[in-house]
Symmetry: C2
Subunit: 341 residues, 2 copies
DNA sequence: CTGGAAAATGTAAGCGCTTGCAAAACTACT
DNA sequence: AGTAGTTTTGCAAGCGCTTACATTTTCCAG
């Protein structure tokens, strides 16, 4: 393997192919602008040299990076993985690269990462949900970076979103369990500060209660961070309450699995002694026993649509169009119908 | 919000602060080189303008990007998530940004992504396992990009690795179940082509069989792709075999959960009727019932060490040092001890 | 004071690419 | 052959930053 020294540049290719750098550049970026014979000469030189365009130089000259940034709260569980994967696939198909970072659900970390991604010249950004400082939106506007939110849908927000109505989805689920005869509801939610998804899901439960003549104030609510064990602990606490809730609605599937483990530890049978629901319908929900009744979120579709929309915002330089997806209830075995028995 | 036009540049800052661009640059990159009063003047200008360095320009001039690329087979399940998260955290602490892409377990996709990351000027690369074309290693060598492998440990490989001995770990587990009285072993593995981790785990089982007087050829093996459902289907197939295996060793936890589901479908109790083991010890393994006996992989430590090593390789310009971590067996409820009963 | 070393700052040459503009080379008609 | 497009190619000016080297300022011992 001879030492080829520094990697070949556009100039090298131009020299070998005996054309100008401009021609080589066109050849690489838009071959239609170059005549057939020239194109072949250039291709040959490129292959001979093993030339790959230098990304930094390119984005500096072209003022775009073909890079899109996404900041997700966490990579450690499957909640965002599937959607992000689909997002990535679609971006890749359109020639963009995805830069992912995770904020560990912390607003300050998220802000820092937004700035980093912008400094790196991300052509666009995908954010999760809408809850963040106005200052960040100001910054983004000033920098003119197209931004899209996912996992939430809110026409009133400052940025367009591709997502679903967390509040309404949770309301439907809660109404279903109320109709099934449950009256003493409890809820385990992820921390709702700085998290509109979590907050809306709580509101959804209260909406359902109010709509069915239950006092929303009687909802036994515990907020915890995002973790199976936390879910289990919260569940045990809830089971102390008098009168004991007949159902525990969880803000997501991970907490719900925690609840299942909590029940197991207390020797309570699900759903005979107490019912449990989740949210998201990650793989875990159908793998666990009893299978979780939960809200199915169209993760892959959301990711794909978000990629399409964001790329269009960038390439057509237009403001984004929000799109609402529907989340549907999936009934498995973790809820007891007290009416039918 | 006044339109601030294009983002401020180093020149703008220099002009406002009434110093040269060189001074501003030093101020940003190594403030010790600048006198206190000047530094403060420059800082003030930076703040006033809201200046952020342009990444492309910087990496072009400095010939480094402070970016590290990682290509993982999949983001969709937790196998790599935890390790990568730790990797990212450690990199972040050292001032590097992580670029992640996933190859969907496809060698051609991986190769393309390696080239993309190199073209983007990644200062270093993290790859999973060692199985890939020699041509890729040649390319990487020629480009002089530091590369490190994780999730495997192999001193004979062309690149250094931070990982564990998949073969030996699986062998230990297999020996344990043989000692527990199992004689008819079956295995569900991820596809072993282009995947040294999967292949070594198979070898490990055969090693154990040979070491205990069992004919390695009698191992009932099915290779499937990586998915709960595939695991379930494979399990059902294996249960047709005569004589029926008493234990199904799975190449990873996801397949093992599939096996659990398969058993459920067939009305077989685990572990009374058939035992099941996993590999990786992802969260799923302890959440599922029965809890999976599996091999615990120190994901977070692996990610952290890999980040440290890779950064050192880059910054000290030295070749990497491999490090072997130990994977340990975690006994849960999915294996029946036929000897003790 | 002064000379000389050390510290601080400035000058300017790139880094590798894209792209507006201009020139050259074709084409298809009179 | 001449003309007016149309297509293809080349020229060269940046893009925003770092850094080797040169210059100026500061500091201190003599």
């Amino acid at each position: 393997m001879p030492d080829s020294g520094p990697p070949p540049t556009l100039d090298d290719v131009a020299r070998i192919a005996k054309v100008s750098t401009a021609t080589v550049s066109r050849c690489v970026n838009d071959p239609r602008l170059v005549s057939r014979p020239t194109r072949e000469k250039v291709q040959a030189a490129i292959n001979a040299l093993g030339y790959t365009p230098n990304f930094a130089a390119r984005s500096m000259a072209a003022k775009r990076t073909l890079t899109i940034g996404a900041i997700i709260p966490t990579m450690e569980n499957a909640i965002f993985a599937r959607g992000v994967q689909a997002f990535q696939e679609e971006l890749h198909a359109r020639g963009y690269t995805l830069l992912i970072s995770s904020s560990a659900y912390r607003a300050d970390v998220e802000e820092e990462q937004i700035r980093t991604l912008v400094a790196r010249g991300a052509d666009g950004l995908l954010l999760i949900g809408h809850d963040r400082d106005a200052a960040i939106y100001d910054y983004l506007e000033r920098q003119r970076v197209p931004v899209l939110a996912a996992w939430s849908f809110d026409l009133a927000a400052r940025i367009p979103s591709i997502g679903f109505d967390n509040r309404r989805a949770m309301q439907s689920l809660a109404e279903q369990v109320i109709v099934a005869g449950h009256r003493r509801l409890a809820m385990i939610s992820a921390s709702s500060a700085q998290n509109d998804r979590a907050r809306m899901r709580i509101y959804g439960v209260r909406d359902a209660m109010a709509a069915h003549g239950l006092d929303p104030e009687t909802l036994e609510l515990i907020e915890v961070s995002y973790d199976v064990q936390e879910g289990a602990d919260a569940f045990e606490t809830l089971m102390q309450r008098q009168p004991r809730p007949t159902i525990v609605l969880c803000g997501n599937d991970v907490l719900a699995v925690g609840a299942l483990r909590g029940a197991e530890k207390l020797g309570l049978r699900v759903p005979q002694d107490v019912s449990v629901t989740g949210f998201d319908d990650i793989e875990l929900a159908q793998v666990v026993r009893p299978g979780l009744t939960t809200v199915h979120v169209p993760h892959r579709e959301m990711g794909r649509l978000a990629a399409q929309e964001l790329v269009e915002m960038i390439e057509e330089k237009r403001t984004g169009r929000s799109q609402e997806l529907t989340a549907t209830i999936v009934n498995r075995a973790s809820v007891l119908d007290q009416v039918k028995g």
